[in-house]
Subunit: 297 residues, 2 copies
Amino acid sequence: MKVTEIKSYLASRRELIQKALESCLPPPESYPPAVHQAMHYSLFAGGKRLRPLLVLAAGEAVGSPPEPLLPAACAVELIHTYSLIHDDLPAMDNDDFRRGRPTCHKVFGEAVALLAGDALLTHAFAVLSQVPEGVPTEKVLQAIGELACAAGSQGMIGGQVVDMEAEGRQVTLETVNYIHTHKTGSLIRACLRMGGILGGADEEQLDTLTRYGENLGLAFQITDDILDIEGDFANMGKKGGVDMARGKATYPACLGLAQAKEIAGQLCKEAQELARSLGTKAEPLIYLAGYVLNRQG
Amino acid sequence: MKVTEIKSYLASRRELIQKALESCLPPPESYPPAVHQAMHYSLFAGGKRLRPLLVLAAGEAVGSPPEPLLPAACAVELIHTYSLIHDDLPAMDNDDFRRGRPTCHKVFGEAVALLAGDALLTHAFAVLSQVPEGVPTEKVLQAIGELACAAGSQGMIGGQVVDMEAEGRQVTLETVNYIHTHKTGSLIRACLRMGGILGGADEEQLDTLTRYGENLGLAFQITDDILDIEGDFANMGKKGGVDMARGKATYPACLGLAQAKEIAGQLCKEAQELARSLGTKAEPLIYLAGYVLNRQG
């Protein structure tokens, strides 16, 4: 596939995802409107849909059409969005901006933002419980288990807790690794695994997708750390240098910027090699790993 | 069944539920301990386990053994517990006591309490995704869909949003009904439906269980309103008169205490008649409706 072909593939998948997301939520005017408006506000805030794209690219890499993968793609974006809303709350990071717009609680108040986050998380499982045509029910249940574990207290939430506790402290690289592989990595890994499971991957393919996901997840968070130092508001939609000001546990803080960049590059290269081993249908996964490494925001 | 037999039935089921809840959570010392300790603190705070008991009693009423119903029983208690933690947060009701003990955020801080709630909600679906022996996978998926919808923005969370918005305002009985049937009623209804679905209920039985659940759910919230006025700290584990002081939308505020009591009694009587129509195995459901009406806390 040429780069232009991959770009048109991604554009068409983004459109599928956008439509699926729009139709998976109750309309913003549904009663009670406050919470539904808040859910829409945050879900349609201009996210890049990397996670849903990974679900589709993983399933398609093992031969599935995109349609049966859409509920899982939506579910993971709902969970990602809820985690951002709760993360921004005053009790957590107390952020006023996200993707260049006021955060959910700044617009709708803390209580509604809290509940909108809860509702997005809950809705993820309602969406995922609908069985797509042609997918065995056991596979759907397996995907639900994957997502719930990846997002739970020993996955994403575990990473958030340790991240919070590490703030302002000197931490080891081991702790930073725990934070990165859990806070961001778990959910990205789950995207690849859900796509594989629902797409009909065999054991070896699923293992390859999993390792791709682990590499990409860690690379994503390291590039996030780097962008916090080097990025600007226009591309990031939020202030840079925030991590350092807060004493957040980051790769550049532990190893310096140069080595952090080198490791991110290495992880993406390994991810690309893993994707290559899956054959030509996995080319979008190769492209997405390059995108994660070189993105500006 | 004599009352003593029903009491011993309930005691044995409470024990099953307690063991299932203990083994369904990661131990409190699991990394990261802060969030796991907070999850345990709130889940084992002396709740009466009414919702899990309803799941078991519903499934057993249609001929199921209790064991295959335990994951659903645990899932609903995990969701109930998360909703209490988030409800108590300063951004919501700002309560310092729950069941006679300091609330989760008073002990663990707001951020950890928020995340512990998120983790309990998430974990409910991990638990429910495990297929019990003898239960078809489609039934498990159906139960997941029921729970997610009942707990979501058009169920429990919808009720919480409207409850919050109604605070300090004159509201119609229609609004109070919406709040009660959603904030409390949805989840109780889901207990009955999940028990029925996983227990192998036919369509008519499921319909009867659903209507029992709707009656009981509304009765439960009305008796809760009444207890807030008439109960004492020793039985309630929290201060009484709070609803009135806050200008909460309640049945007694709309209709007066006497009429509220009459309606609660009528709803429970109807629930008992519905249970009676299911045969002798539904006797615990008859007892539980009486319990809801006459409880002291």
